[in-house]
């Protein structure tokens, strides 16, 4: 530590107290629980752990979770880019309404959005008779879970892109157009490279939420074991059956998926920072 006192430097004890508070808080509420998940998962040994996550219902939950994410994340990436493009690059009537609608899933409890889908597509719902007549099952089936997940995770990509695209303005797109590029060429060669990192970042956040979503999916899934249970739902079922070793084992799989996401996000931030410094 240098001897000169910087004007913004607080006394040593203040700094220690503040840092101590922050670290203590993080340890108590984040690190300890996360470690406990893994400790609990492995408490009865590796064999029990392996059985718990390779058991057929667990496997089908993992597959279902990935399926739901694999459908809803790409769709939301496309919707998000389209919405951000419209909001950032054009002015039109009802723009602030659209912005508010994009935020709606953040504002509304996921359980409520799940219930709305039941009201729309359930057997007694608005489209229920029509769906039954055409033998399409939405609620208590995969389509409903995908719909609920899309709704809940819709804002992530759009929210990430809008401020960036607004800050970048339209000049580069206009330049491309005046050079004879078509709309699609302009998007692919100019807009997309400019938003690439923010888009990745939004997709990762969207994916994390899609795999972890509980509330909305829980309402529309019907909890049919081995069929409509995603990993978070499967964990709850196991836990309610006092099968805590298996519950924690599956929870640890979710945690690993989360940590991977976090690692990927950090990597992308680092890459994006590297590029910004270069520019």
């Amino acid at each position: 530590m240098s001897a000169t006192v910087r004007p913004t430097q607080d006394p040593l004890w203040t700094r220690l107290l503040l840092i101590g508070c922050a670290v203590g808080f993080l340890a108590l509420f984040l690190f300890v629980p996360l470690t406990l998940v893994f400790a609990e998962a492995f408490r009865k040994g590796i064999k029990v752990y392996a059985d718990a996550i390779t058991e057929s219902n667990a496997l089908s939950a993992i597959v279902l979770t990935i399926t739901v994410a694999a459908v809803s994340v790409p769709l939301n990436a496309v919707f998000g880019v389209a919405a951000a493009w419209a909001i950032a690059k054009f002015s039109f009537k009802g723009k602030s309404l659209l912005l508010a609608l994009i935020d709606l899933p953040f504002a509304v409890s996921p359980v409520v959005s799940g219930l709305v889908y039941v009201l729309l597509f359930g057997a007694q719902g608005l489209f229920g008779p029509w769906l039954r007549a055409h033998q399409v099952q939405v609620i208590f089936a995969v389509p409903g879970m995908v719909l609920a997940t899309i709704f809940v995770t819709f804002p992530f990509v759009a929210r990430e892109l809008i401020p960036l695209m607004q800050a970048q303005g339209n000049d580069q797109e206009y330049a491309a157009l005046s050079l004879g590029a078509s709309g699609w060429q302009t998007f692919r060669k100019v807009t997309l490279p400019n938003i690439k990192w923010a888009l990745f970042y939004g997709i990762i956040l969207c994916n994390a939420r899609a795999m972890g979503e509980f509330g909305a999916v829980s309402v529309v899934s019907g909890h049919i074991r081995g069929e409509t249970n995603t990993l978070p739902l499967h964990v709850e079922v196991l836990y309610n059956e006092y099968n805590s070793a298996a519950a924690f084992a599956c929870a640890s799989v979710l945690s690993v998926l989360g940590l991977l996401t976090l690692g990927l996000k950090t990597f992308i931030e680092w890459r994006a920072g590297l590029r910004r410094r270069k520019h």
Binding site: Q172, A175, S178, L179
Partner: protein, 328 residues
């Protein structure tokens, strides 16, 4: 005619950005659109380039005698250069310049070698050879603007449209680039319109100056015409320094430029007005005096030569007589 604009109107909400613009620009000219911010000059340029459109049915734009009013920017072959360059940051200088050729439909796209030759030739033309592999972020402001110019020229534009091309540059670079653009335009001969709010820039660079104010054209003429024979009070005030003076006993306002004020000794019988030197600033070959008139409380500026200043031995606080070469 290279560019013709007829009765063009453009409204943003309740704001009338352009209120009936008529303009004809002959081939090979370098034209300045000059005006204060909000005068509509950039809007006019963008409409000519197809980056904005007039109110429905309100006016026409013709480029090389072809009506392009409804055409999108991509079909106009108008090279556009932006104030903040708008270079593609993720592409190299070379790729930026080649962009306009690369995006052509396959059937009339030149082959790879031809594109390469053309891009390198253009970079040579704007004196940036050897920098083709750099990213735009690795260039200075002046270099970036020249890349933007080369990029716009790659499509063999019928006209070049420059929106405040020197606006983001510092004074020194601005001056150099201004001179460079003058010669460059002479060399390539493409009809060029540039937007500026800097009267010095417009007068020094352009063949024709179009002075705009509040969505209308105030005057069109050569730099000398608009400076020496301003058509409206606005042009008078906007172009160059001007004093507004009321002579004793006469109600009307006169415009007089600082160099048109003659300074006499206080006792001189030819003096029309009497004033006191409030401030004196001498640098270079001329001196600027700020004078407070005795009869009214108005001030006016006068430019005199250093020689006259020394010969008359003037200093702040002195009383002097004035003679105005009034151009009413």
């Amino acid at each position: 005619m290279s560019i013709v604009v007829q009765n063009l109107r453009r409204t943003f909400g309740t704001f009338q950005a352009l209120r009936g613009i008529d303009l004809e620009i002959a081939d090979h000219q370098l034209v300045a659109l000059l005006g204060p911010s909000g005068s509509g000059k950039t809007t006019l340029l963008r409409i000519i380039g197809g980056l904005d459109f007039p109110d429905a049915g309100q006016g026409r734009v013709l480029i090389h005698d072809e009506d392009v009013t409804e055409k999108p920017a991509a079909d106009r072959k108008a090279g556009f250069v932006f104030q903040h360059y708008a270079l593609f940051n993720h592409l190299s200088v070379f790729e930026n310049v080649a962009f306009g050729l690369e995006v052509r439909p396959k059937k009339n796209r030149p082959d790879k070698n031809a594109i390469r030759d053309r891009a390198l030739e253009l970079l040579r033309l704007v004196q940036l050879e050897g920098l083709e592999q750099r990213l735009p972020s690795e260039l200075s402001g002046g270099q970036r603007q020249r890349v933007a110019l080369a990029r716009a020229l790659a499509i063999d534009p019928k006209v070049l449209l420059l929106d405040e091309p020197f606006g983001a540059l510092d004074a020194k670079v601005r001056k150099d680039l201004r001179r460079w653009l003058r010669n460059f335009h002479r060399e390539i001969g493409v009809t060029t319109i540039f937007v500026t709010h800097d009267q010095q820039e417009a007068l020094e660079l352009a063949d024709i100056v179009v002075v705009m104010n509040q969505g209308q054209i105030e005057q069109i003429g050569s730099p000398q015409q608009v400076y020496d024979q301003p058509a409206t009070p606005f042009v008078y005030e906007f172009l160059g320094d001007v004093n507004k003076v009321r002579k004793p006993g006469r109600p009307d306002l006169f415009y007089v430029r600082p160099h048109e004020v003659r300074i006499l000794f206080a006792g001189d019988s030819k003096a029309e007005l009497h004033a006191k030197i409030e401030h004196l600033f001498a640098a270079g070959p001329s001196a600027r005096l700020t004078l407070r008139l005795q009869d009214s409380r108005d001030t006016l500026d006068a430019d005199i030569t250093r020689q006259q200043l020394d010969e008359m031995g003037l200093s702040e606080g002195d009383e002097v007589g004035l003679q105005l070469a009034l151009s009413s």
